[in-house]
Symmetry: C3
Subunit: 633 residues, 3 copies
C-alpha cells in the first residue's frame, strides 16, 4: 500500500456552495483523505436530542463524490454549551480548585460518568448514521487527548473515581498505608474516603500518592476512550484512530493504543521547536524555520509503536501557526520534507492541517494550504509535489532498525513526581539518546517495555523507573548489547527503593551506593572526554569498568553485553558510548553533518536535510530543507 496525503477540513466553517470546489481542488492537489467533524457537535446537536444531520450528510456526499475518503471525528473534545446545563459538574478542575470554564475546548473531566455517557451516546449516534457509509473510511475519536494539560482534573468526579480505583488496587487502607509508607509523617488513612488527590499540600506529598494519582488519571482517560470505542465498534468496520500530540506524556498512549486500530499524531515542527524544546538559543536559531531535526522522527517511531505498526500524521504543520511564543514561516521545502520524513518512517497517511486558513476565532493566525481568500498558500504546491513523487515511486516498506529504545509513560510520571534534580526530564533523556543515535546515521525503533527485542542487536533502556524481575531476566538473557540506565530500575511498583539496591541486574555486579543530581555549572568530566551531566550515580561492584570519571569513579560497567550506565552522558560521551557499542556489534555508523539525518527503509535510504544550507553526502547534493533518497538494495 502506498502512503497517502490528506487534509483537515471544516465544512461547517464555509458556505455550502464552496464545498464542491474545495473537494475538487483537494483531489487536484493529490489528496486522498479528508478529516471532518471533530469540533462540530453544536452543529450536529444544537439542543439536547435535536439532531441536524442533513448538512453533514451532504458534506460527506460531496467530498466522497469527488473521490475523497473521509475520516469522521467524534466531536467530544468540544461539548456544546448546553451540556453544562445538563452536567454542571462535568468541568475539569485545576490543581488550585478552579473549574476550567467553557469558551475554548477540552473543558470536560475524564472521570465524569455523565459526560462519558454523553460521549458514548454521540459516538453511537454517529456510528449508527455513518458507520456503513462507504465514504467514511476511518474514524477519529475525540481530538488531542491531554492537550492543554487536561489529563489531571481535581473535580469531585475525579476524587470519587480515584478513591474507587484505590480501593480496587489496594483492597484495604492498611495495605495502601504499607505500600506508600504512610507511617512517615503520620500520613496513615483509616478509610479510602479520607484520601484526596495530592494537590495543595503544605509541602510535597508522598511520591507514591502522586504516582497512584497519575496512574488513576491515565486509566480514567483510557476508560473514557474505551467508552467511545465500545459504542462505535459494533457499528463500523472502518479503523478507529486517535490523533495524539507531541511531547505529551500525561497518559499512557500504549494503553489507549491497545483499544484502537491506528495511531496518529499532530506534527507541528516549528511550533514545537519554539514551545516544547529546551535546546540552546543557537540550536533554536539554526532550526527556526525547519524544526528540530529529531523531534518529528522520534514521534514517528514512538507512534508507530503505539499503533502496533499502523500510524499516520493526522495534522501536519503547513506554515506559521498561532500558538507558539514566536511563529515564523517554514523554509520553502519543509512542508514537503516533513511529509517525506513521515513516509520514510512508515506513515500510512499524512494530512495537512488545515485546508483553508480561518478568518475567525482562535486559529485565525494558523496557516492552511489555502489563504483565507482561497489563494494557494505555500504548502499547497509542496503537497502536490509530494503526491506526484509518491505516485512515481514504488511502495516504501519498513525495515527493522538495528537499535531500539524502550519507552515507558509511567517513567515520565515517575521522574516528574520526583525529579531530584531540577532538570531531570524523562522525555529529554529519551530525546537526547535518540538524537545521539541519529547523529551516527542510525534508524531506530521505539518499543514498549514488554516488547520482543531479540531482533535488535543494540537495546537502550534509559530512565526506566521500574525493572520487574521478569524484565531483568529477559534483558540479561538478550544477545547483543543492552545498555541500561541511568536511573533505570531504581523504584519498585509503589515507588519505593527496592532491596537489594538497584540496579540489581542478574549477572552484573554493580550497585548504586549513592546518587547525585548536578547543576548545569558542575558537569563531571570523564576520563575519555565528555562529561556526565545532571545525574550521577556512584557505582560499587566488580563488573568491568568501561567508562569512568576523570577522578576514577566508574560510570559505565558491563558484564558481557549487559551494561549499566550510571549517569546522564553529554553529547560527546554518549557518542563515544554508542559508537563503541555499534562497532562491537558490527552496526554501521556515520558521522552525520549537522542537521542531516538518515532513515533506512527496506529498499531506500532517505537523506533528510534540516540544515538551512545545502550539504553533500554520499555523493548526493541535498539542498537546504531538502530530501533525497537512493536505493540501498
Amino acid at each position: 500500500m502506498k502512503p497517502e496525503l490528506g487534509v483537515c477540513y471544516y465544512p461547517e466553517h464555509w458556505p455550502e456552495t464552496q464545498w464542491a470546489e474545495d473537494a475538487a481542488r483537494m483531489r487536484e492537489t493529490g489528496l486522498s483523505w479528508v478529516r471532518i467533524g471533530e469540533f462540530a457537535w453544536s452543529r450536529i446537536e444544537a439542543e439536547p436530542g435535536k439532531f441536524t444531520f442533513d448538512w453533514l450528510d451532504r458534506a460527506i456526499e460531496t467530498l466522497g463524490a469527488a473521490g475523497l475518503k473521509v475520516v469522521l471525528g467524534t466531536p467530544t473534545a468540544t461539548p456544546p454549551r448546553w451540556m453544562l446545563d445538563k452536567h454542571p459538574d462535568m468541568l475539569a478542575v485545576d490543581a488550585q480548585g478552579n473549574p476550567r470554564k467553557f469558551g475554548s475546548r477540552r473543558h470536560y473531566c475524564f472521570s465524569h460518568m455523565g459526560y462519558r455517557e454523553e460521549s458514548a451516546r454521540i459516538a453511537r449516534i454517529l456510528g449508527e448514521r455513518y458507520g456503513k457509509n462507504p465514504h467514511v473510511q476511518a474514524w477519529q475519536i475525540d481530538n488531542e487527548y491531554a492537550c492543554h494539560e487536561t489529563t489531571l482534573s481535581y473535580s469531585r468526579a475525579a476524587v470519587e473515581g480515584f478513591r474507587d480505583w484505590l480501593a480496587q488496587r489496594y483492597q484495604s487502607p492498611e495495605a495502601l498505608n504499607r505500600a506508600w509508607g504512610n507511617v512517615f509523617w503520620s500520613m496513615e488513612y483509616a478509610d479510602f474516603s479520607e484520601i484526596d488527590p495530592p494537590n495543595l499540600t503544605v509541602t510535597e506529598p508522598n511520591p507514591s500518592h502522586v504516582m497512584a494519582w497519575r496512574r488513576y488519571s491515565s486509566d480514567a482517560l483510557v476508560a473514557y476512550n474505551a467508552a467511545q470505542v465500545g459504542a462505535l465498534r459494533p457499528l463500523t468496520n472502518a479503523p478507529l484512530i486517535h490523533n495524539y500530540m507531541g511531547r505529551v506524556l500525561e497518559f499512557d498512549h500504549f494503553d489507549v493504543g491497545d483499544d484502537l486500530d491506528i495511531a496518529s499524531w499532530d506534527s507541528y515542527p516549528i511550533g514545537f521547536l519554539s514551545d516544547r524544546l529546551d535546546d540552546s538559543p543557537e540550536h533554536k536559531r539554526r532550526y527556526l524555520r525547519q524544526g528540530d531535526p529529531d523531534m518529528q522522527a522520534l514521534h514517528h517511531d514512538l507512534y508507530r509503536a503505539v499503533g502496533k505498526g499502523r500510524w499516520w500524521v493526522m495534522e501536519q504543520q503547513p506554515g506559521p501557526v498561532n500558538w507558539a511564543p514566536y511563529n515564523p514561516a517554514p523554509l520553502p521545502g519543509m512542508a514537503r520534507l516533513w511529509a517525506w520524513e513521515a513516509i520514510a518512517h512508515g506513515a500510512e497517511a499524512v494530512c495537512y492541517f488545515r485546508w483553508r486558513q480561518a478568518p475567525f476565532a482562535q486559529e485565525q493566525m494558523h496557516a492552511g494550504m489555502l489563504r483565507p481568500d482561497s489563494a494557494p498558500a505555500p504548502a499547497l504546491g509542496e503537497a502536490a509535489q509530494v503526491a506526484a513523487e509518491i505516485e512515481a515511486l514504488p511502495e516504501i516498506r519498513l525495515a527493522k532498525a538495528p537499535v531500539a529504545i524502550l519507552f515507558d509513560y509511567p517513567s515520565g510520571w515517575a521522574w516528574e513526581t520526583q525529579p531530584q534534580g531540577a532538570d531531570f526530564d524523562y522525555f529529554e533523556l529519551i530525546l537526547e539518546t535518540y538524537r545521539g543515535l541519529r547523529k551516527l546515521g542510525l534508524s531506530i525503533d521505539i518499543l514498549p517495555v514488554d516488547s520482543d527485542t531479540s531482533d535488535h542487536p543494540l537495546l537502550l533502556v534509559p530512565g526506566l523507573f521500574e525493572l520487574p524481575d521478569a524484565l531483568k531476566l529477559r534483558l540479561a538473557a538478550r544477545k547483543g548489547i543492552t545498555l541500561i540506565g541511568p536511573r533505570s530500575g531504581t523504584r519498585g511498583p509503589e515507588f519505593n527503593i527496592p532491596l537489594p539496591l538497584p540496579p540489581a541486574l542478574p549477572g552484573l555486579d554493580a550497585t548504586i551506593a549513592l546518587t547525585e543530581s548536578l547543576p548545569p555549572s558542575a558537569p563531571e568530566p570523564l576520563a575519555q572526554g565528555g562529561a556526565i551531566i545532571r545525574w550521577l550515580e556512584r557505582l560499587e561492584g566488580t563488573a568491568d569498568v568501561v567508562e569512568e570519571t576523570a577522578s576514577g569513579q566508574p560510570v559505565l560497567m558491563r558484564s558481557g553485553g549487559l551494561h549499566y550506565l550510571a549517569g546522564w552522558p553529554d553529547a560527546q560521551a554518549l557518542a563515544r558510548i554508542l559508537f563503541r557499542a555499534c562497532g562491537e556489534l558490527g552496526i554501521e555508523t556515520r558521522d552525520m553533518p549537522e542537521g542531516l539525518r538518515l532513515r533506512d527503509t527496506e529498499v531506500y535510504r532517505f537523506y533528510i536535510n534540516y540544515a538551512p544550507e545545502a550539504v553533500s553526502f554520499d555523493g548526493l547534493e541535498i539542498p537546504a530543507a531538502g530530501i533525497a533518497w537512493k536505493e540501498t538494495k
Copy 2:
C-alpha cells in the same frame, strides 16, 4: 494664558495648625494650584450619611485665602470601609475569581450599579457644597482610573453588565455567534445568559470574545465616570478633570476625555523607566536618574489629544518614589526639566506630587517638595526656579507639528488579545515610532483615529488594528506622506480577518500573503541596512518597492504618498524611512545627540537634555539634566 505650577496636598494628614503656613510657603514657591480631597471620603462621611465638612471648609478657605486655587477631588477611588457593609458585592474580582479586598485603594468594580450611584451621590453632595465656592476652580473626578489593573473585573455585576451590553450590541445570540465565528470549536450560545467573561478557559478563548469583553470593560468605566460628571455638571462651572496614568491602555481615554474638560496625567519619569519600559539595561542605566527621554513627551502629546488641547500634569515626580523595583533620586535639575518639558508641550499646569512626604502609610518612601520634617526637599527650589522663569517669559503658544501619529486604544486591546509574537506590544510600537521621530529633532502630534490630519504633511499609522473603509478613503486621499503599518487594518470590527486580504488600501496594490512573528534572535536584515524585527508580513502586489529584505522580499511599498510598511523596523531602518519621508516633504530633520530632544512651540525652540552630561548643540551649551530655549521667530 501662562502655564502655572501647583501641588497635591492632604490637609487631613496634618494638624490644622500647619495649614496656613503650608499655604503661605506654596505661594512663596510660586505655586498657583493645590489639589486636595481625592482620598478623604472617610473624613467627609465617616458613617453613611453622616457628613463632616467643617474641616474641609476651613482647609479650602485657608488655601484660598493664601491665594491658591483649589482642585477638589471626588474621593471615589477610596470608598470607606462601611461601603462594603452597604454593598458587599461591590469589590472588583480578579481573573482567578478572588475578590480584591479592602485595605489599599481602587477596590470597587466599575460595573457595580450600587457603587456607581454612591459615587454620583458623593460627587453631587460635594458639588452642592463647593460647586460655586470661588476657591474651587477645578474638579478632579476619581483618581488614576485603571491603576493597579483595575479596569477588568470578573464580579457578578460585571458578568451581568457584560451580558446586557452583548444583548444590546448583537441583538440575538445567533448574530453574536456569527460575528465571533463560534461555530469554531462548538462555542455557540443559545442565550446571552450563557456567556461568561473569557477567563479561566482551558486554552485561549475566542479573540472576538476577548475583544468584546475589553470593549465592555472600557465602556463600563466610561459610564462610571459619566455618572459623576452628570452629578457635578449642573452644580459648577469649574472644569472637570481626570488624572490618567502613564502607559495605561486598559480603557479608551478618548471616550472618557469626551465627557471632561481637561485631561491630566501623573508623570513619574524615573518610576516608569524602572517599572514600565522594556529598554535595554544600558539604556536604563544611562537614564536611571532622568527617566526615558521620550516617555514623558509621548504622554504629553497623547493627553493633549485626549483633552482636545487642554491638559495638565496633575502629579509630577519630585524625587524618589516608593513603588518601582528600584527608586533612585533624580539628577539635580530634573524636577525643573520635567516641568519645562510639559510646558513646551502645552501643559496649562504642572502640579508636583506631593507637598510634604508622609511619615506614615503606603507612600512614606515617596518624596515630596518638603521632607517629613518640613525642611525643603530638592524639588522645592527647582519648582521655585521654574515659577520665576515662567514669570520672566512671555506666553508659550503651541505650534502644529509637521508629523502626526494616529493612536487608538482598542488596538492596544487587540494586540494584547492576540500578540501572535510574544513581544508584539502596541504601546512599544508607538513609543519606538515616536522615539524615531524625536531622534530626528521633530515635534509630533498624537491624534485619535477620527482626526482631521490635513495639516500634517507626514502621518504615521502603525499597528491600527482596524481600518474602516471611510478611513481608508480618507488616508488614500491625503496630501503628503501617509505611512501605514505594520499590522494596520488586519482585523475587522469583530476581530476577524477581512476580505479582500489586508491592508487593501485604495490605490495601493499590496497584499499581505503571509505573516511571521520573529524571535529576538532572528531579525530579518534589510537590503539598505538595519532590519525588520518582531513582525514581518510577506507582501504581494505591484506597488513600488521602497524597502526590501536582503533576500529581496518587499517590506515597504508605496503608491504616491500612500505607503504600507510590512514589518516592525529596528531603529536604523526606521530612521532611514522617516528621514527619506521628511526629505521628500521638505520637513527639516536633525541628527540629535543621544539624550537631547527638541520641542518647537510657536516662538521658542526648547532643547531638553536627558543625558547625564552636558551637550553642545545649535551654539547652545545645555548642561546635564538641563533645558534651554531660544526664539525661532
Copy 3:
C-alpha cells in the same frame, strides 16, 4: 561538659527486630543521643483517644539499654488524618484563600484553639508517660516551626485571633487608625471586626497593617509553643528544645527561645547553598559540595543567642538531600568538618539526620548514616572519627568574641514589608556583614537587641528598623566602636518615620535627608575604593566624615566611637571599614585565604577549610574540606 554526637531515628519505620542492632551500631559509632517520635502521632494514637504506647515503650527501652539518651519529640507537626474530622477548620490557609491540605506535614494553623489544645493534650499525655523515664533526657517540641512557610495563615481562626490581638494592642479603632495613619486612602476602621489580614488587596496594603499582622502571627506561634511547654514543664525535668531551621525569619525565635531550655537547629549546608542563598553562580559552583563558608557559623552564633548559651545541631546533613533544586554529595570530610565547626561555636550536641535512608515516602532520596540496605554511608565513618577526636581532646570552652552583631526578627519583617529596593533583604545584610568579619579572621557573637554589649569592643547594628530612645542612649554611651546602619532606626514601633528624622543618634549630628535604592547596574563608587550598592542614604550634618562617595557625598559619619553608615557597602568597602575599626580598637585581624575561616574558643583556634583545595596558613596545612586546631593559650 564535652560535646556529644547523636542521630535522628524512626523506630516506627523499621521492623522491631532491627532496633537493638541499630542501637548497638549507634553506640559503636560513638553516638550518645537519639531523637525519636516527632512524626509518630498516627502510631501513638491511631484513633482519637485510643493510645498504643507499647511499641514506643520498647523502643525507648531498647535504645536506653544500649546506652543512648533519648530526645523525645512531641508529634504535633504531623497531626493524623482523623484530626481533620474533629477540627475541619484547623488547616492553615494560604494567602490566596486555599486551605493547605493534608498529605504532607505542618498542615495546621497556629491560631486554631482546638488544635492548640490537642497539641497540649498529646504533649501532656507523653509527659505523663515518659516525663520521668530515665532514658528520656530531653524533649523536642514540634518540629521546624515555620518550615514550608507555615507561619502566616489566613484561616478564620487567624482572622479572629488577629482582631483580638489588635483590640488588646490598640484598645480602640481610633487609636489603631491613628497609629497606622489610616486617614491615608480612607482606610479607617470603625470596629476591630472590620479588619482583615492584609492579603489580596488591590495594591500594597498599609505597611503598619502588615507589620501588625506579622507581629500577631509570630505571637500566635509563640503562644502555640507555650501551650505545649505549659503541658510538659510540670511533668519532666529534662530540657525542652525546639529545632529551628536555617534562614527562617518568619517568627521571633528569641520569643520562642525564652520559653525553652535549649535552642537547636537543622543544618543542611549543601541544600541551603543551592536553595536559600543569593550568591553568584561562581560562588555556588566553588562551594557546591561544601556549603557556604559562613552560613552555618552565622546560624550557630545566632542560635547560641536564642538558646541563651545552650544550643545543639539537632539535624546535621550527612550526604545528599532530596529537597534542593540540585542535590550533590558532600566532599569527603564535610560531615566531620560541619560537626567540628558546630562544636567550635559551642554546640552541646550534633545529631545527624537520619540514621538509615528511608526507601519510601517523601525523603527516600535523603541520605542517612546508613544506606537503605543498612550498609554504611560515608557519614558514618566521619561521625565515628569526630567521636574519637572529641574523646581525645579536653573540653572546648567558649570565649567571648571581640565583635557582636545585633540581630532582630521584626527587622526582617519590616524590610520584607517595605523593601523599597527589590533586593533589600535583612538576612542578606546580616550575612554579608558577618562574612566581612569572618574574612578578617574574627569570631563573632550574635545578640538580641536588649543585650549587654559592654564586653564587645566592636558592635555592629545593620538594618535594625527601630531604635527606641533607651537603646540609642545605651549605644551612644558605649565604649569602643558602634557602627549603626544602613537603615537603622528609620522606623518607629508602628512603622512610621520618626521625627526628628533618623537616625537621630545622641551626639552624632547626621540626618538622612533622602534615601535611594540602587539597581545592581548602578553601584555608587566610594572615594577610597569599593562602592555602595543597593541602598544609599543622603546624610546631612556636622559629624566627622569617614567615608564618602567619589562625588563627595558622606557615607560614613562618626562622633567618637559612634558611627552611622548610610549605605550598603560592597565587600571591598566593608572590609576597609571593618579593618579600620578593628585597627583602632586593637582587635587582631587576618587576611583569610578564600574559603578558610577561623573560630577562637577559650583555648583553641580552629581552622575550618571550606575550600575544595588544601591551604597553608599559620604553619598548618589544612586539607580540602578539612579542619585543624591548635592551642592559643
